[in-house]
């Protein structure tokens, strides 16, 4: 099983990218292949006029999603919603709508924020966007508030939160298995 990880934060010491590394360790421990997408910074602003000549960065992201059996998102929350860079990238991925790479793709969303609510609104908005694109969004949620107190040098220090993340990772894997079987049988 191939899982692509996408963090909505570009910040070098991002809590969400650190969280995504934990996700990767948990998934790999369960036997999945995991890769973190690192091209978000290179995605140009979405412009319908540019659709006939999409940038390599956009093609690469579409291909990475296409090649993955599932996608795991971690997102911070900016002004009660999704970071603009992440929404912009998804707007590119969503085109053309009827055949976009996210259709029927199992996805999971969790998040961390420096504030107290753990990016719950950004997570809800991201789930809505992914559902509209046609993704198969698993229901598990992890909201890590006060992230500054909960990460120590890039490591999540609370075992109960890691356990919550593990549960979502397992939900995503369960949702993805039928597709992997299909791919392997083809």
């Amino acid at each position: 099983m191939r899982v692509l990880g996408i963090s909505g934060s570009l910040r070098r010491d991002s809590y969400n990218t650190a969280l995504l590394r934990h996700v990767g360790e948990l998934l790999e421990a369960e036997g999945a292949d995991f890769e973190i997408y690192d091209g978000l910074r290179d995605i140009p602003p979405f412009d319908e006029d540019e659709e006939a000549f999409v940038a390599d960065a956009v093609s690469d992201l579409r291909q990475a999603i296409q090649d993955a059996d599932a996608v795991f998102f971690t997102t911070p929350e900016y002004n009660s919603s999704i970071p603009g860079v992440l929404k912009n990238a998804l707007d590119w991925v969503s085109r053309p709508f009827a055949t976009n790479a996210m259709r029927n793709k199992p996805v999971a969303v969790i998040g961390a924020s420096a504030g107290m609510f753990g990016a719950v609104w950004a997570q809800a908005d991201l789930r809505k966007v992914l559902s509209t694109m046609g993704a198969r969004v698993v229901e598990g949620e992890v909201a890590i508030g006060h992230a500054g107190d909960r990460f120590d040098q890039g490591h999540l220090s609370e075992p109960n939160l890691l356990e919550e993340v593990r549960e979502v990772a397992q939900l995503l894997m369960a949702e993805t298995r039928p597709k992997v079987m299909e791919r392997l049988a083809a």
Binding site: F97, A98, R103, N104, S131, T132, G134, A135, R136
Partner: protein, 176 residues
């Protein structure tokens, strides 16, 4: 006068004439009724039992983006549940009026449903086949089938009703 199940519809095996039949749905959305149709469906009446199915992939609405959205897990989830199906358990007839109890399956969820409608008398068509017509209608709660997408109006009310009316106008031909 109520007639027993086996006589409610003409005896024999009858299959749908898809060209002269239609299956669709209507749902209250914003300020009016939004409608769609299924282009591919199959209906048969045999031994007094009515069975029908419609292909999710064949749904037609007036916006291609919405057609694509209807295929996704947000709505019908065509990848995992490519068909909607119906099977009758009992059919009662009173004059030309019908009351059909059965089970409908949408998105993998099966729920009991009651259909009302009318039937025509049998006729012989210009090609020598015997046929009759059914006009059927039922209302379901889409939430029970996991088809729960909604959006809020500015006043906070949901834009789309949970009550969906399914209609079928069918012409059935007798199998030789």
């Amino acid at each position: 006068m109520s007639i027993t199940e086996t006589n409610a519809l003409p005896i024999g095996t009858w299959t749908v004439d898809p060209v002269h039949s239609s299956v669709g749905f209507g749902v209250e959305y914003m300020a009016g009724t939004f409608t769609g149709t299924f282009n591919e469906f199959d209906v048969a009446v045999a031994d007094g039992v009515l069975k029908g199915s419609a292909k999710v992939a064949s749904v037609q609405v007036k916006d291609p983006n919405l057609e694509a959205h209807l295929q996704t897990p947000d709505f019908f989830d065509a990848e995992r549940h490519p068909e909607l199906t119906f099977r009758s358990n009992s059919i009662e007839r009173n004059g030309d009026e019908l009351k059909i109890d059965g089970e409908i399956t949408i998105k993998g969820h099966t729920e009991p449903v009651q259909i009302t409608g009318v039937t025509s008398e049998t006729i012989v068509d210009p090609y020598g086949s015997t046929r009759y017509g059914l006009k059927l209608e039922t209302t379901i709660d889409r939430d029970k089938f996991g088809v729960s997408w909604n959006a809020s109006l500015p006043n906070g009310e949901p834009a789309m009703s949970n009550q969906v009316t399914i209609t079928a106008e069918l012409q059935l031909s007798k199998e030789a």
